[in-house]
Amino acid sequence: MDLRFTDEEIAFRQEVRDFIARELPAETRERMVAGRSPTKQQVVDWQRKLNARGWAAPEWPKEAGGPGWTLAQRYIFREELQQAPAPSPLGFNINMCGPVIIEFGTEEQKKKYLPRMLNLDDWWCQGFSEPGAGSDLAGLKTRAVREGDHYVVNGQKTWTTLAQHADWIFLLVRTDPTAKKQEGISFLLCDMKTPGITVRPIITIEGGHEVNEVFFDDVKIPAENLVGEENHGWDCAKFLLGNERFGQARVGASRERIRRLKVIAQESMDGGRPLMEDPDFRRKVTEIEVELKALEMTVMRVIATESKRKDKKPDPATSVLKIKGTEIQQMCSELLMKAAGPYAWADGDPDEEDGSNEVDVAPDWAFGLAGVYFNWRKQSIYGGSNEIQRNIMAKAFLGL
């Protein structure tokens, strides 16, 4: 048992850190430090810089255009991006649709889509959830009927994150309504400019425009856009969701938020002294730091066991990552908001460009902290709600 990073891994971390320090535009970083989402252009520019360096898709194998990193390198890379903070490679492209195409796609599909995904020439979005299919995803109803060399798609997707930016959507559709729930589903790729698609914004409680409804009205999708076999789309979906394993822990991101929290709590006054000197507040911060340290060690364990394992059965620790990772992030956002005191409450209208909701009221560090708090309640709902994670744990690991 050796729980340290190797010298090579430590050197790699430094290389990543240096690259970020050199290449990340100050405006992007400052915007993210303030708790705001990077703009579309900032995400695109950064992804292209990463791509030029060969780092656009940390998890992809070399032959698909990835750097061919070990799990430890991938973890270090993502942690450094989160800590900087810098935009992560666009998840829809790099962690969701890309890996599905690499695993299940044809050679033509790989050639056509992967390079453009890496360079963010195409922004992808995810068409999974429907009004009637949330946690019970396999209950989805969007219908695709094969007509000659096309599928004709009718139905509605929802919670489609950043569909307003998207050039393409990957979606689950029902191709055999007579089969058992999971067995009549297919995985399709669709150009967002195809006639019959309507994107309608959903404004979330904090006032931001991040998610959308996407309507399909007789949308013709070429049959060659089917990934894998018809009626076997559920395999793609399970594979895609399984890939989210480490992503949701976001240890680096939480560490960055705690650093930020300590800065703000030093500037914010309470009872005539900096809030950070209040023992009760300080202890709350400490409790999160401790949870985060345990989570970090759990991530390490998962990485260490996954890199050796032949079978693809998940480690019990993996469900811990989602539950604890999101709980910690939510706690961070709550303490940040509280630290801002009355300055947390300024509200505004969503920004057309990035969907965020900010107004200019002093002091700088208070901007949008309440918005992030309200917005981050989504974390324990998406990606398999934390209750679904507990169901998984009870069934898969405890045999209940």
């Binding site: 048992m1 949870e291 507990r390 009870a394 405890l398 209940l400």
Partner: protein, 381 residues
């Protein structure tokens, strides 16, 4: 980064698990508890045969040559079977003081006796007013010729009643709560000026109240004018071992709870089929896995050379493990229902050990305060 055990470590784990599996059934444990010592001399001699009593000492001095990972492995098994023998007191704490504080001469004398099981040690540190502060010491040590004479009272001396030697913290200079001026002394537990009153603790272990009136130290451990850093180091190593013990106990009682949920029938079906209970069991698993991670962090940090960083790490370990032990202990009883309220059922005994484990050398609340006052784990940016 590698969390796998080496072949040797796996052998160690298997041999301890086999011994305790054989010797530490619930009924056997009850028998040991009722015996005169409150634990088993027979099991103790088998510990010696397996090398567990010489675990942390170098092979050149007759030890096993184990480090923090080996200690973690043994401690986890000890927690799994909630054993009663004075392993933590004698080997982890006593061994720690011998390794970090004893002269070569003293080591030559005592290490073979500890490793063979003949020498039992206990740490006499707690005082009425000290609660969890290691530096709060009223007991005094005064020079007398080339030796030291000790006066004072020590409480909750774990396994103090069966110990052959006591490791006593005593003030050689300064005021009661000063960090300087604390010495660590080895005292013959059966010698003149030492009075012991043994008693059983709620977790089935033994402890003693110790009255020291003019007791002569047989040896000094470390610097008698500035022994607190030595105490901190040994206690930190013990916290890492206690983390392992807690994880072992949590695993055992969680397994027991899950088994019970699968067999206990109510409303015509196993209670484990109810989602409210499933989610509680899942939350217990989250707490357990986070604790296991933290026990690895503890083992990794036990050898940390910077004492400030080491203390912070152990504070974090105490907080996380203490909170988890409380939750897992309480919920194991809750999910079992009435049966776990009976003294005839094992779950309650795990709950009690976990409760005491949290409080050893300071509970989670104590260390939250400590860690928050020293700046926490993450530096501000």
């Amino acid at each position: 980064m590698d969390f796998d055990l080496t072949e040797e470590q796996r052998l160690l784990q298997d041999s301890v698990a086999r011994l305790l599996g054989d010797k530490y059934g619930f009924e056997q444990r009850k028998g040991y508890m009722k015996s005169a010592d409150g634990w088993s001399r027979e099991v103790w001699s088998q510990y010696a045969e397996l090398g567990l009593l010489g675990l942390p000492f170098g092979e050149d001095e007759g030890g096993f040559g184990g480090g923090p990972v080996e200690t973690l492995i043994v401690a986890e098994q000890i927690g799994r079977y909630i054993t009663l023998e004075p392993w933590m007191s004698t080997v982890v704490i006593g061994g720690g003081f011998l390794r970090h504080g004893a002269s070569q001469e003293l080591r030559n004398e005592l290490v073979p006796q500890v490793a063979s099981g003949e020498m039992l040690l206990a740490f006499a540190q707690v005082e009425r007013q000290s609660r969890y502060d290691l530096f709060d010491v009223a007991t005094t040590a005064k020079r007398d010729g080339d030796g030291w004479v000790i006066n004072g009272r020590k409480g909750y001396v774990v396994h103090g009643d069966s110990a052959d030697r006591l490791i006593v913290t005593a003030r050689t200079a300064g005021d009661r709560r000063e960090r300087k001026g604390i010495g660590v002394f080895l005292v013959d537990a059966k010698g003149p000026g030492v009075e012991r009153r043994g008693y059983r603790t709620v977790d089935g272990q033994r402890a003693a109240e110790v009255e020291l009136s003019g007791a002569r130290a047989v040896a000094v451990l470390g610097n008698p004018e500035d022994g607190l850093p030595l105490v901190d180091q040994v206690v930190d190593e013990c916290i890492a071992a206690l983390a392992g013990e807690a994880v072992g106990a949590m695993q055992a009682v969680h397994d027991m709870t899950i088994d019970y949920m699968k067999t206990r029938q109510q409303f015509g079906r196993p209670i484990g089929s109810f989602q409210a209970l499933q989610h509680r069991a899942a939350d217990m698993l989250v707490a357990l896995e986070q604790s296991r991670s933290m026990s690895y962090f503890a083992a990794m940090s036990a050898a940390e050379r910077n004492p400030v960083e080491r203390r912070k790490a152990m504070a974090a370990v105490k907080v996380q493990i203490g909170r988890s032990a409380r939750f897992v202990g309480q919920q194991s009883v809750q999910l079992h229902g009435g049966i776990a309220m009976t003294i005839e059922y094992a779950a309650g005994h795990y709950f009690k050990r976990l409760t005491v484990n949290d409080a050893m050398f300071g509970d989670a609340d104590h260390y939250v305060r400590d860690l928050s006052e020293t700046g926490g784990l993450v530096a501000a940016a």
